[in-house]
Amino acid sequence: MNHPTERTRMRQLVALLLLVMMLVSCGEPASGPTPPPAAGAVPEDSFGALDLVTTVHYDPPIEMSSVAAVDATIKFLDGNDIHNNVWTRAYEQLLGIKLTYQWVVDGSMYGQKLGLSVNSGDIPDMFGVSAAQLHLFHEAGLLADLTSVYETLASAKTRDVLTQDPVSLKAATIDGKLYGIPLTDAAVASAPLLWIRQDWMDQLGIDPPTTMADALEISRRFTEEDPDGNGVADTIGLCATKSLWGAIAGLQGFFNGYHAYPNIWYERDGKLVYGSVQPEMRSALEALQKMYAQGQLDPEFGVKDINQVTETIAQGKCGMEFGVWWNPYHPLNQSQANYPQAFWSAFPIPSVDGVPAKSQYGSAIGAFLVVRQGYEHPEALIHMVNFWSDNILGSEDDPLRNTFLGSIETPDVVLYKYTPVVLWEPNAIINDGNKLRDALASKDPSGLNLDAQWRYRIIQAYFEQGILEAWVEVATNGPNGATTILEEIAADRGQLNRFYGVPTPAMAEKMPTLDPMQDEVITKIIMGDPLDAFDQFVENWYNLGGTEIVEEVNLWAERNQ
């Protein structure tokens, strides 16, 4: 229930807040209305003034119990709390649904608490589950069949957002029946890009990389030619963590440059294959090994976790990393603490040969909304989803966004965290970025919503006033920013993980030992073990259960075509 995008958006908002403060201190009046929030009592909701679409109004109102996952950063406006807020009031006043939360826990404890709660027979009417729980609860006969209510009641916009990614609904379908509403998100947001210290490239007079050979050369020069000019050989070309993979300083992007796709399943000669054991892995490993031997990787990357790598980045010692589009918001922004000129630019993954490289990514569906078997109003969930998608998605109406999502004046109050019904359009990040770039090109921000207008002003502040901290927004949503690369990836430069089911029996049994074996071999080869160890690993992988897993995954694929 802890969505990556939600975290990302929080980071964005925090970054925005800082920039807003800076801009205000520059003496620029803020555009848009800034009414001071009324203190004390709960302000009257002005739903009537908004142009809201609803698909139901229960009279008399119905009761619906649910459960809530919140995180430590959740904040409420005066007089509001998780049980009484704009979302609960909107559901009750506009839809006639009285939503109550049986319990509220921290997001990290949600799965565990739900498991205990359901095991003790205390099952909410509507709640969020993981993919594994969806199948487990269905097997136990706890979930209502949503097929017919979805077919008859889902609005056009709801259908649109749920079918943009063809996998979404399939992931919630068991034996031809729909048991959950997938909480969609932007899958491509997890695709790796290559981030490079632009100021170092300028310092050394290096051109942007187009091939893997270029990238390796940049890494070498960053390590050997003292790009920070402090006279000490303390810089490293490429950052990596001990867990090898991830959204920050993960190595999967490096492997993608060699057409290798570790940890995911993709089609090859008509069958699904496991990327970690394909021959392309070997040449990527060979390159990494060479880089390590020449001091271009942290000699101790094998024991450093994400926090320690963030420290390296903050100390201005790291020149390159493979990571996702939001990395400038965290941790790359840390570089500026010591080096105000630091600027990271995103590049598409370069390729080792003439064939363009593809960034690997997986399904973004982390959770599903389900209804308890026996609840009298399973259709109420569909109406709540309709309310979200009809009114929130794609809306540029500022009063509406301020009411339901959060206002730029109170950036730490994220209103949509109060409801479990939150779906994002798979292409939202790319579309938002493009709208912003169009406005920048035509110098006309009038068509943007308030949030986008702030981003517009931040990017302007970088170019016109030289406010260096604003590079974060420039690197992501500015001209040639990271989101332009996401568009390319979504079009034809992505390698999607083709397996999105729950772990097969052999996976559940073998992966907990096969995964560490893989990571151990890869780390050791990078640090100097002979490359033959990889061939040995591939053989072991198949012998220790891999063969069985491949069979099961292909059987699954046949059933889910």
Binding site: G111, G115, V118, N119, S120, G121, I123, A132, Q133, L136, F137, E139, A140, G141, L142, K242, S243, L244, P299, E300, G302, V303, K304, D305, N307, Q308, V502, P503, M507, A508, E509, K510, M511, P512, T513, L514, D515, P516, M517, D519, E520, I522, T523, K524, M527, L544, G545
Partner: protein, 300 residues
């Protein structure tokens, strides 16, 4: 007649004991019914009586996992080394402190070595990665001065188990030393006076009076620590291990943690728990028998 009289006199004592017995029954014995989950495929909502019976499948699942024997061996090795070091170091420190005459110095040292016991492994892991670093860590800088190393304490799979033992001892020896110091105060001072009169040296006093005096405590703590032979310290290893040291550093608890992430397998987790409990019970039983036989020591 006498026994009935005794019984009447003891009734208030039994009444006072009753709440404790009831609590133990409710909170320690009643939950043992849950052990049945080790033999089920636990389905949510059906509870521990409605879930399908799968016999020994959960145990077979664990045994079929590749590397399970290696993991078991890692666990026993690390836990065993910790148990041995966890007796020797605190006893030695306690003996040394016992011979210190300055009370202020003794108290200060006692407090300082006791402090790490309260720090969580999450915090200590960050500190150890820094001070054990081969290139910048304090420990390796010192070793370099005397011509050793650098030693890759956390990244070399031959050294990693010893690093775990060393850091664990560092964290807990202060706590252990206090227990032994308490035992030392129980020794009759006249024994030492008599020994001095007989011309015994400090070393001879330690060997023939002090050690036999605290041997009961040593045996008791060693026996109890055998029950932990399959607990090699999840917090510590989970925070400090890395792919580099999986071969020697992966233990049962970290493996179960990864199984848990893949799926909500309550049945498998319970089976592992049951297995660990049975092994612990056996080992404590055997150790207790041996202690009773050779050292004439009885806990019960």
């Amino acid at each position: 007649m006498a026994s009935r009289k005794n019984l009447r006199r003891e009734i208030p004592l039994y009444v006072m004991l009753a709440p404790a017995v009831v609590l133990v029954l409710i909170y320690s014995y009643a939950p043992m019914v849950g052990i049945v989950m080790a033999f089920q495929r636990v389905l949510p909502g059906r509870g521990i009586f409605g879930s399908p019976w799968v016999g020994l499948d959960n145990f077979a699942f664990i045994l079929r996992m590749p590397n399970i024997l290696q993991v078991l061996w890692n666990t026993i090795r690390i836990a065993g080394l910790k148990a041995v070091a966890g007796v020797i170091v605190p006893v030695t420190v306690a003996l040394m402190l016992n011979n210190v005459t300055s009370q202020a110095f003794k108290r200060t040292v006692q407090t300082i070595i006791y402090l790490p016991h309260f720090l969580s492994w999450v915090i200590l892991a960050g500190i150890f990665v820094d001070i054990l670093s081969p290139s910048e860590g304090v420990v390796n800088l010192v070793l370099k001065q005397v011509g050793i190393g650098p030693i890759y304490f956390l990244g070399n799979d031959k050294i990693f188990p010893w690093t775990m033992v060393g850091t664990d001892v560092w964290k807990s020896f202060g706590f252990g030393a206090i227990v032994y110091l308490a035992a030392l105060t129980d020794i009759d001072p006249t024994l030492y006076e008599a020994a001095v009169v007989d011309g015994a040296s400090r070393r001879q006093q330690t060997r023939h009076i002090t050690l036999p005096g605290i041997s009961g405590t040593i045996i008791m703590l060693s026996t109890l620590s055998l029950g932990n032979i399959l607990n090699a310290g999840f917090d510590q290893i989970f925070n400090l291990y890395s792919p580099l040291v999986y071969r020697t550093g992966d233990i049962i608890d970290t493996l179960v943690y990864r199984i848990g992430i893949v799926n909500f397998q309550y049945g498998v987790a319970t089976a592992v728990g049951l297995f660990k409990s049975v092994v612990s019970l056996l080992l404590i039983g055997i150790a207790y028998r041996l202690a009773a036989k050779w050292a004439d020591y009885r806990i019960f």
